[in-house]
Each structure stands twice: as structure tokens, then as C-alpha cells.
Symmetry: C2
Subunit: 465 residues, 2 copies
């Protein structure tokens, strides 16, 4: 596909590569050298003989190789001439990192138009300008010019992330890394003079490594195309959108930020829903939903929620939140209740939320999870496990994972606490069980799973008709 | 005051103290021995000669000291006889840790009534049963029976926390500790056969170490008294309430959990508002608000918000959220704009949200913060600082703190990321600048500051009339 050179290039030129460690071109070249990138990387800088141990070339023409990808990190006024070189050398893809375009006023806008004209009718595709580019951990493509001690790189995983804002993207990647959340591909689209969210959705729809797509946008120029591709994407994988600039003031801020005409909140919300996409209302929701939808099976048919807890208060709060969102709490089958009453201590509360009480140990969790998982009245399970008591050991992670794998029911965890809890959260994440620090966020994530299941059902219905 | 023996006892007996490290009585006794508790601690256990190096007493009578506080961790059926001993020995306060009361059915309920009758007309005050008791880091009182490697203890600080749910309380304390959030007093009230939230609010209203009070309750039995004391509290310090069981299903769950009749959401919301209390809708909000209200000055009069950012996207999202909540974004004074335009690079966006752009360094932040802080059109400041770029160094914490201290305007930070970010978050927390991982949560915290300011203004008005 036309966009694959961005993600799987055999040869990369870094224009503006530099010997100075703080320069963007230096950091980007180093990313390719330090990683297990299997292609060739070529520094381009007429003023240097070699950079980071590699021979430096004065221009693209001198490079003795066909170029899949060129990364451009030179001042804006020079960029058009580099694009000329790219076109002459039949480069397939370019990422323009440089700022100084439309976002700075008329002069920059003209530069953008100049570049746009140049590539018309050519095969060259451009991401940017004014962006941080691409991060693809599977293929070791990393154009992020931010140092690793500041922006830790997340590991490979199922979630793709498209961001119109580079700073937003880098902040979220950094947090994802620290929480062991896996990323399939990250793309910062910046001023999107060529490749935009529509192109990328088309590409990611077919990307096998991507199980779930998240998007932050302030503007969508090709509305009709966007809805078309969004509908196609959501046939196969969930799509979660956070739209910036949904209020009047926010739209004004978006106009200053990315020069975007943000458009009415209602129109977007309606259109997203029609396309089967899930709209996140907050930054937390964007990745809360993605971790549920990226890891857990879809909920279809039976959507009733079972809550299993060792803290009654969190059970109460979860129930409140489920009610607020209109979710149905499962009524356990009489057989389930009977079985639980037989085996649980008599002070446990054997209905939904199922309160195993503060002295619950892992055996009690195992028993309860197996019982509710095999109950036909249960569609999805929220496991609340507060780890402050010494009754619970870390193998509760195994108990949760085993019942999830055995019965195949979507499972989401709520746990909150300090260092010990954080270790278990990472263990759960590794087992693809998403975990949330509050009952409300966990229930919200379940709601997203149910919403996506409904969207799929609606599509099936339409197809039958 | 009648409740001070719970928090500042000169002598403590631990009934049910044990040599066995996993027993609650062992952990609690150890808490007093290992800490800098300046009073005397006496283990009570007729079967042991000495426990943890202290002589063990067969009963309270044999202890050669007046007892301020007795902590009871023996099986429920024995508890009434210990209460008899407490009454005979004129013990001032007792915390009944033991479960096995009302929450387990009729038998337990009878035990509660028996104890209630015994203490009628006496000076003995009781917290519990079925609770985890008291944590007062300033006085080194710690009845939490949960091991420190599971439940890390938070440092002393301005926030008091009353929780009807022990597990909720312990989970939140653990997280508070890991985030360096300071606690003045924590009280788990359990089945509250004697001391309840009303008594504690009365006490905490006068507690100089407490600047802000947070409460999780599922039921409030003495509604009228509660509103009276809440109104008195909020004259001097903010009160933040999270009410569990606000939906029909949630209320049913609360009934099972703490035997509480939870009551209608609307009635509570209205009553809380009338009393000047802030209602948190989620667990996150409870402490998000507390950290703003506990550390930052009240916002009165000028409530317009200034946003300073190095990431445009987060500026847009903050603006959206402020709009949604009906907050006013400040229009900067022409002088402010002029001054900023003179000194900032021309690609910075010099209106509100003030976008310092991705290459902003600490000097640029200092300049911007001083400018907006001295602008009379600005009442409160949201500083968004994304630390993934290497332009920003950690002394941005000093810049933020200095402008806050110099100009005295309430300041809240939004920053998100991995390890490096977390270090700066803790530095900010130490300087009493609350920080939030998303723009929405930061703006929400500002909204709580504004709400409390309005509640104070309304009270002033009522007093003038």
C-alpha cells in the first residue's frame, strides 16, 4: 500500500542529520542506529563527513540506494528544495518534522502550498509538516526527536494512535510506556498537507498488528471520506475518537493551534455514532477505552455485568456508575447463588455485586470468578481487587486470567494503590486484562465494550436488510 | 474535646494483641512500637507473658495506668465484656476493629445493641465496630491492621479523610502515600454504633492540622445535624463528599454493604450544596478536589481562568472542558498581551490559552506566568507543562512555585508522562501545587476551587442580611 514506506522502509535518509546531540536530526538518526532497524539509514548533511559513525551525504542524489523514506528536519524555507530532490530521486515517502509553516502565518502557508503543488500527481506521500512523525515499534521506525529519558518508548502492542497534536501524542506515549501499554503504530499528522486521518484509517484498517485505533483530531476536512472509512474500520476493529475544539471557545483555540475549523460538537457526535465509532469525552477515556477494546473480546448478546469485589464500598460505587450509564447488572442464576452460598463463608454477600469481603483470599476469588463466568446471565465481569490486605497474594492475577481464558468472558479489573498494586496492574496488563484505578473508569470501559458490540450488531442487522 | 483521646492518647491498650505476626492485634501493637508514638502502649492477652518485648496484661484492670484509648481486636462475642472492662476502668475511647456485627445478620445486630446500651450515659466513646480505625500521622496513632508493604502510610498533610468503608479508605490511603499526598487524620467509621461523621466533622472543624475534609459515606442517619455541622465546617474549610448508593441499584448494594438506607440522590445533592459542601461524583474527583482545596487559596471575586501551555492540543481540550463547566476564560489585559508579544517568539500564540509552543523553555514559562499572574483579569491559572521535550528542565517547578507565591493566585498544573514527569509531579506536590494528569481533571479541580469560593461569598451575603 502507498503508506507502507512510512512504516516499513528498507532505506531511510535523514535530511538535517547533525553531530550535535540536541538537534532533532541527530536524535532521529540515532533512533535508527540504536534500534534493531533492519533497513539502511543515511545521514544527509553537506557540512559533515560522517555522523554517528555513518558517512554523511551532501544530498539525496549521492546516496547509492533507492530511498523508501526521507525524514526532513531542516528549516522550513529549505524544505521545498528537499521535496524537489525527493521527487527527482523517486523517494516514496517523506516525513516533514520541521515547523514554521501554516501555524506561523501567511509566509508559512505559502510554503505549504508550494510543497502541495510540487507533489501533485507524483507518487511521493508526505506526513507533516509541523509534526513528530511516526513511531512503529515492531519495525523500529522512530522519527520522534524527543530524547528517550524524557519520552520513553512504549512496547509493541495492539493500539494504534493518530494525533493531530504532537505534544499530546508524545505525552500520551510517555505515559503508555510507563504503564506498559503496547502500541502498534503512532502517527503525528501535524498540518497534514498530504496524509491525513482518512488515509491512515484506510491503512490501519488492513494492519494486522492493530486491533484498536485511537485518534485525537481538532479538525476533519474530508468529512464524508472520514465517515466512509470509519464505517469500514469499525466493521473489523474498534475506533475511538477524541475530538478537540467541541465548544465555541475550544474551537477558537483549535483555530490558533492547528489552523483547524473545528465544527459543531453535535454534528461530530452524531456522525461518529453513525459510523460505529466510540467518542471519548476526555483524555483518560481515550486510552481507558482503547485498553478494554484492544485487549478484550467484544460483548455481544448478553451484556449484563457481574461485579466481584473484596471491598463493599467499591461495589456500591460501581453499581451507582453502572446504573447511571444504563448498564444492566446481572441477576445471578439460582444455581450460581446456591453454589456460592455453599462454598463461601456466610458473611460474604452472595448477590450482585458479589462481596467476598475484606478477608477474601485468592481461592475465594477463584471460586467466585469461575461461578459467575459460567453463569449464562453474565456477559461481562468487573473484578475489584483491593490489595491492601495481606490475605490476597499476587497469584490473584492468575485466578483472574485463568477464568477469563477458560470462559472467554470479557473481564476488566479495578484496583487502586501504591507500589504493590502497580506491580499487579502491570502483570494484568501483560495478560491483556485492562485495569483501572477507580470503579467509575472501569465501568465506563465496560460501557465502551458494550457500545462497540452494539455497533457491530447494528451493522449485521443493516447487512441482513 | 471528647474525641481527642482517639487522636492524641497518652496511653493505649491493645486488646487481642498477639505474638502471631499475621494477627490484627500484633500488627496494631507493632504500629505503636515501631513509630515515634510518645504515649504508652499496653498489650492485653491473658495467654501471653510478653508480646513484642512488652509485658502482656491479662485484662485492662491490671494495667497500672489510666487508659485514654483501647483498641479491640477480639472476636465479636467477646467484645461486650471488653466494653464492660473499659467502663469499669474509665477508658475514654475505644476503637472496635472486630467484624461480625450488624453486617453479618441478626446475631451481630444484637451484639451492637448490647454495646450501645452499655455505653449510654457513660463518657466512653466508640469508633466502629467493623472498621480499620484511626490513622493520625502527626500523633503516630495507627490502628490500621494492614501491613505497611501493602498499605503504605501517607505523610502528614492538610487533608482529613472519613470513610464509611474500610477497604475504600485503605486503598485511597495507599495511593495517597505513593503520590506523596499528605493526610491530617483518617478515620474509618465502620458500623458507627457511636461516633459518626457528624461527631467527626465537629471535631475536625476545630483541628488546626486539617485544612480540608473529605468524606465517603453510604448513609447519613442524622441528616439535620449533618447539615448543621457541614455548614459550620464550610465557613472555615472546604468539605468534599462522595456519596455511595445514589442510584436505586447502588442503594441496594449499600444496604448489603453497611446496612445503610442510602436515600435519594437529589435530596443529598441539594442538601450538600445548601451546606456549602462540594459533592464529588467519582473517586478521582474526591482527591482531585481535595488536593486543590487543601493546598491552594480560595478563589473569590475574579474567577477567570488563564491557561498557559507548551502543547496546543492540551490547551484546546482545557478550553473545551472549561466551556462545558461554564467557567470564564480570562481576556488578557492589552498591556499583558503587549508585554508578551514583545518578549515571546513570534510563533507563540499570545491570547488565552497562551501557547508557548513545543520549544518553550523555563524562561519562557517564567515570563508568561509572571505576566498572566499580574494581570487583573486573571483569577486562577492552569499551567500545562508537557515534559517530553528536552527544552524544559526541572526548574520549571521553581518558576511555577515562584509566580504562585509572589502573586498569590491559585495555580493548578496539568502534566502527564512517565518517570521524569512523576518526579516533577512530586516536587510540585511538595510545593503545594496540585498537579493532574489530564486537562479535564485539572479544569475540574479549578471548578471546585471556584465553587467553594462562591459558597463562601454566599455565606457572607447571608450574614450581612
Amino acid at each position: 500500500m502507498a503508506l507502507s514506506p512510512f512504516f516499513n522502509p528498507k532505506s531511510v535518509a535523514v535530511v538535517g542529520a547533525s553531530r550535535e546531540p540536541r538537534k532533532f536530526g541527530h536524535v532521529i538518526l540515532k533512533n535508527f542506529i540504536d534500534s534493531e532497524f533492519t533497513g539502511k539509514a543515511y545521514p544527509v548533511n553537506p557540512k559533515a563527513e560522517d555522523i554517528l559513525g555513518l558517512k554523511s551525504y551532501p544530498n539525496l542524489k549521492e546516496i547509492p540506494d533507492e530511498l523508501d523514506l526521507t525524514i526532513i528536519a531542516v528549516p522550513a524555507p529549505i524544505v521545498p528544495s528537499i521535496i524537489d530532490e525527493c521527487l527527482l530521486e523517486n523517494v516514496k515517502a517523506a516525513v516533514i518534522i520541521s515547523g514554521g509553516f501554516r501555524e506561523t502565518g501567511e509566509k508559512g502557508e505559502k510554503l505549504e502550498l508550494e510543497i502541495k503543488k510540487k507533489i501533485e500527481g507524483s507518487n511521493l506521500r508526505i506526513i507533516g509538516p509541523n509534526c513528530i512523525g511516526v513511531y512503529d515499534p515492531a519495525n523500529h521506525v522512530d522519527t520522534l526527536f524527543l530524547p528517550r529519558y524524557r519520552l520513553r518508548r512504549p512496547k509493541p502492542g495492539p493500539i494504534a494512535f493518530i494525533s493531530q497534536s504532537g505534544a499530546f501524542g508524545s505525552a500520551v506515549l510517555d505515559r503508555a510506556a510507563s504503564q506498559d501499554i503496547g502500541i502498534s503504530k503512532f502517527i503525528s499528522i501535524g498540518n497534514k498537507i498530504d496524509v491525513d486521518e482518512v488515509d491512515l484509517l484506510n491503512y490501519l484498517a488492513e494492519d494486522n498488528l492493530t486491533k484498536c485505533i485511537t485518534v485525537y483530531v481538532e479538525s476533519i476536512e474530508r468529512g464524508r471520506d472520514f465517515l466512509k472509512v470509519a464505517s469500514r474500520v469499525t466493521d473489523n476493529k474498534p475506533l475511538i475518537l477524541l475530538k478537540g475544539g467541541v465548544t465555541k471557545d475550544g474551537a477558537r483555540a483549535a483555530l490558533s493551534h492547528t489552523g483547524s475549523l473545528a465544527g459543531s460538537a453535535k454534528i461530530y457526535t452524531g456522525a461518529f455514532e453513525q459510523a460505529g465509532a466510540i467518542q471519548a469525552q476526555t483524555v483518560d477515556e481515550l486510552f481507558d477505552y482503547a485498553r478494554a477494546l484492544g485487549y478484550q473480546p467484544t460483548i455481544r448478546g448478553q451484556t449484563s455485568v457481574a461485579i466481584v469485589t473484596n471491598g463493599g464500598g467499591f461495589g456500591v460505587i460501581s453499581t451507582d456508575e453502572a446504573s447511571r450509564l444504563g448498564l444492566k447488572l446481572a441477576s445471578f442464576d439460582p444455581k450460581t447463588i446456591e453454589g456460592l452460598q455453599e462454598k463461601l463463608p456466610d458473611y460474604a454477600i452472595v448477590h450482585n455485586p458479589l462481596d467476598l469481603v475484606g478477608d477474601a483470599d485468592v481461592d475465594r476469588y477463584r471460586l467466585a470468578l469461575n461461578a459467575v463466568s459460567s453463569d449464562p446471565n453474565v456477559g461481562v465481569i468487573l473484578v475489584i481487587v483491593l490489595l491492601q490486605t495481606s490475605f490476597i497474594e499476587s497469584d490473584v492475577v492468575d485466578a483472574i486470567t485463568e477464568s477469563h481464558v477458560t470462559f472467554g468472558k470479557p473481564t476488566v479489573v479495578c484496583t487502586i494503590g501504591g507500589e504493590f498494586t502497580q506491580i499487579l496492574v502491570k502483570m494484568l496488563e501483560e495478560n491483556h486484562i485492562p485495569s483501572y484505578p477507580t470503579p467509575e473508569r472501569a465501568i465506563n470501559a465496560i460501557n465502551a465494550l458494550i457500545k462497540y458490540g452494539k455497533a457491530l450488531e447494528d451493522k449485521d442487522k443493516r447487512k441482513i436488510v
